[in-house]
Symmetry: C2
Subunit: 207 residues, 2 copies
């Protein structure tokens, strides 16, 4: 099946995303309730199952019977506004118009947790495109902890400059990076060793 173009140029663009966005907003025929950070969200089992393999396993598998609109599903370790944007993406395939870097980080973790693949790609691209010395430590820790190789490589490339490295060391996220991901710092040091000192890389990695 494909879209008709040309001769049917008078036909307006797809409204599937708008209709599903309305469905989320109006809660028509909602058969699930979530409790997230003290807030309640209604949703539809079949939409979440269609959009996330993790929700599909949860909602159509063993947990099936225990999930209903009457017995809320509690989501821990996620802020309500992040879950709200995750839900919105699942229904409409779109992200908040002013997706800032911090929100992209939160959404990346959420999308990874529920395997919402395209949202993960959007957020990872957003973070890769907006690496600066303030955010790089946080992004690097995120990439290392959750396994986002493209983001990790982009951070390492950014830090391959003494001035960026120095600024990163003064940033808020540095302490978190050193405590949560000490091995990635070793990896960084090993990368910036002069070529003739490649023999020392092994030493660094064992420190």
């Amino acid at each position: 099946m494909k879209e008709i173009h040309g001769e049917e140029a008078r036909v307006p663009p797809s409204d599937l995303d708008r209709h599903l966005g309305d469905l989320l907003k109006n809660k028509d025929a909602a058969d699930l309730t979530f409790q997230v950070g003290g807030q309640s969200f209604s949703a539809h089992r079949c939409v979440l199952a269609a959009r996330s393999s993790v929700f599909k396993a949860k909602l159509l598998g063993a947990m099936k019977e225990s999930c209903s609109a009457a017995s809320p599903i509690e989501i821990c370790d996620m802020e309500a506004h992040v879950f709200k944007s995750l839900l919105h993406f699942m229904y409409t395939d779109s992200v908040p118009p002013k997706l800032d870097v911090a929100m992209a980080g939160h959404l990346l973790v959420a999308a990874d947790r529920y395997n919402v693949v395209r949202l993960k790609q959007i957020c990872e691209e957003k973070l890769c495109a907006h690496i600066d010395s303030n955010m790089v430590a946080t992004s690097l820790a995120l990439a290392e902890q959750h396994g986002f190789p493209r983001l990790k490589e982009a951070c390492l490339q950014f830090l391959d400059s003494p001035s960026n490295f120095k600024a990163m060391m003064a940033s808020d996220g540095y302490e978190h990076l050193t405590s949560s991901c000490p091995s990635v710092l070793k990896e960084l040091i090993a990368r910036i060793l002069p070529a003739e000192w490649s023999v020392a890389k092994e030493v660094v990695m064992k420190m």
Copy 2:
């Protein structure tokens, strides 16, 4: 909410339509069954309600309790392959890749019946763009019976030529047109009267 472009150019296009198409195919969490022309179709109440105001009224209104996966909803006066394409459009916003004129006519009637607005527009445009002397009588009857003014006008314009008119009179659909919509034939005759005979239009319309 809007789509991100440019910096996230690596992100693949929307997959909402594909995911919902898979949902329809796999029948995951389906909570409705339809019986159409001897065939059975599974579907999801919330998707149909989101996509069709007529289904919304039926499935979330008074009929709500009587519709379930276990008690099939019977759809009369529609062929199974037409209902299948209608369902597919509701989930994916796309029509069969080789939508022929006959199928566009069937789908136009189906989309009108369930108020699937964009499908109606696509089918009406398809019919308007493919008027020929074989199909014009059928399309005109359809336009007149279901109230599609753009299609009716396109047919009338096509028939504003003696050779097209003559060919239409020899076509299979002509008899159906004369029996089902005699008034539109009068309208045609009135249109082709010479300008100086405009006084006779009234006579024709009263014949």
